[in-house]
Chain length 132, copies 2
């Protein structure tokens, strides 16, 4: 992944210290953090950053297609640095979310759903991650 600065520049988003702190964390994380997770981290690098700026930046990244947003667990949306199509596995005990590569699963029968025009879909699995 490229550094936060060049990512912001490439997308014509003014790189400010606050935005850099947000981007650095959220685009690097594979943990599907909540906005509050991002805020906590960003405040380490940039102690005065506000809740509003974090939300603004996250929403901006989502609009630009640089960041995914998922409503998988209750209470708060999570943000997803993986913007390729993929499925999700949620550990019921820990709440941790894992990516399942797109081609690992195949969903058959969508063509028969005549009443619906499908823009996107994903499989959401829940269970326990086996410790290796």
């Amino acid at each position: 992944m490229k550094d936060a600065l060049s990512i912001l520049r490439r997308c014509k988003i003014q790189p400010t210290p606050q935005r850099i702190a947000v981007v650095e964390y959220v685009l690097k994380s594979k943990a599907h953090p909540s906005a509050d997770d991002v805020l906590s981290y960003a405040r380490k690098k940039c102690p005065t950053v506000s809740r509003a700026t974090v939300y603004n930046t996250l929403n901006l990244l989502v609009e630009k297609g640089l960041l995914g947003m998922q409503t998988i667990k209750e209470g708060a949306v999570v943000f997803d640095s993986n913007i390729e199509k993929h499925h999700h596995f949620v550990d019921s005990e820990t709440g941790d979310i894992y990516d399942i590569p797109w081609d690992q699963l195949e969903v058959k029968g969508k063509d028969k759903l005549k009443d619906f025009e499908i823009f996107e879909f994903q499989v959401i699995l829940r269970g326990r991650r086996k410790k290796k």
Copy 2:
């Protein structure tokens, strides 16, 4: 579907006017209502019913396995009178949620996910419902 009163009795939940109002609506609805939707309706039948009682009752029904709960759309959990296994389609424009029968879709490849013990899964599709 049986009437609210006998459902509550059968599950050894004291049938009160408040609970009956909640059950009547939420177990009959196919619209995947939010807690607030349920509260609004319940207040028509039982104007003094409180937010807490609605949540208590909904949670009770979920615990007893009479009601499903889904985190499909952001902002609020929705409740699901369909407790059979099924998939979901979300209309991106309206936010409406439709049930997709379990055997209409087949998800292949789950066996190959060696790292995960799967308790449950579903396909979530998003798009536009075709007007018939």
